[in-house]
Amino acid sequence: MKPAPFAYVRAQSVEHALDVLAEHGDDALVLAGGQSLVPMLNLRLVQPAVVLDINALRGLAAIDTDPASGALRIGTLVRHREIASHQTVAARAPLLHDAAPWIAHPAVRHRGTLGGSLALADPAAEWPACAVALDATIRLASRDGGERSVPASAFFQGLYQSERRADELLVGCDFAPPGDDAVFSFRELARRHGDYAAVGLALSARGRPGAWTAMRVVFFGVGDTPVQASACAAALIAGVDFPEAQARLEGELDPRPDLWFSAQAKRHLAVHLLREAWRDLGNPMAGE
């Protein structure tokens, strides 16, 4: 299949992009890495009047540190491959470093972008879950509203639905500095290397085994958005035995079945991933 006709606009500046979005709203779609949008165009799942290519906006392709807050700022156009290999990211946001190789295949990672993945809000994607686990802040800009920040945990609203309004450009995502006692685990099961997850887990915690003070346990591939297992996390912080935490998790997960995995199978795999992540954090498991 080939795309239906559209007008192609190459954004010359962020202001120019925001003007186009303000003018066309829903009728314009942003083209970032194109690794999700172009398939949708080719299959005519979307038929926008305007395709707004932002790839020339190099200012949105930087990785830097906010001098005031110390946060790691990743521009919307930073590609998956760069996140995978960037030294600062590996040091400051190791969860992203660990998750990146799980996204698709090399040729897709060469073009796909952080912001494109966040804007798409695919519930089986890695970046949205990592952003929630790291309590990241997503930055959006519009001509009429200026810039606003939305916590990742409030950004994802439903299947391919987010807080982003049609006139807004996602400009970047900020990750606060991890504390000295922060630890992370990324785990995923997919049918084939590079496929979207059957079930995945992005976990961030502070403290140490036996004395956890904070924890975010975020599953993906199990619902319409990244799913925070809050009851399970609270139980693990409270120091319950693993079987008790497992029961909490089974109680709060209500996975959506897909073509290959039933809800029951996904719940089973989620428990398996939680057990592996719990070990990654250095917690002893009963019977070991």
Binding site: M1, K2, P3, A4, P5, F6, A7, Y8, R10, L31, G34, Q35, V38, P39, L41, N42, L43, V51, D53, N55, R81, A104, H105, P106, A107, V108, H110, R111, R192, H193, G194
Partner: protein, 164 residues
């Protein structure tokens, strides 16, 4: 239609392309470079793999207008490359192709892997090629061929500019 200018297999070319045309179609239909194949046109099979500014990408997932100002290389442009020659020879020897539809994509992706890692394990060969589908060979022979080519290149490294 829109005019674009790009460096294609080392030569400057100017093309008029339709805005909704993807790069693989432009290469095949406007430039006659039919070594770039189209399987799925939605990013799944890798038959359309080309190199843009040095990186292997899906030709079906980039608009031709986005290649304006870029350096594009297709399988036709790789004939003199020693890594590509070694891969081609190994593919033939190990029967790593049958119908050949997937082969240009596999070759370009495998060449990129060998440039990054001259001594890839079978596991990493499989991971790197995971985005390329072959309906004929069952993959074993393809992994064998890439392994063989990498080994030969390590044993007899070429002097004439492998990294481009």
């Amino acid at each position: 239609m829109q005019d674009i200018e790009l460096e294609l297999n080392g030569q400057r070319v100017r093309l008029a392309v339709s805005r909704r045309e993807h790069l693989a179609d432009a290469l095949r239909q406007r430039c006659g470079l039919t070594g770039t194949h189209l399987g799925c046109e939605h990013g799944v099979c890798g038959a359309c793999t080309v190199r843009v500014d040095g990186a292997a990408v899906r030709g079906c997932l980039m608009l031709a207008v986005q290649a304006d100002g870029a350096r594009v290389r297709t399988i036709e442009g790789e004939g003199d490359d020693p890594v590509m020659r070694a891969l081609q020879d190994a593919f033939v020897e190990r029967n790593a192709l049958q119908c050949g539809y997937c082969t240009p994509g596999f070759l370009l992706t495998a060449a990129e892997l060998i440039a990054l890692d001259p001594d890839p394990s079978r596991e990493s060969i499989r991971a790197y090629l995971s985005g390329n589908l072959c309906r004929c060979t069952g993959y074993q022979a393809i992994v064998d061929a890439v392994e063989l080519a990498a080994r030969r290149l390590r044993e007899a490294p070429s002097t004439d500019g492998r990294a481009r």
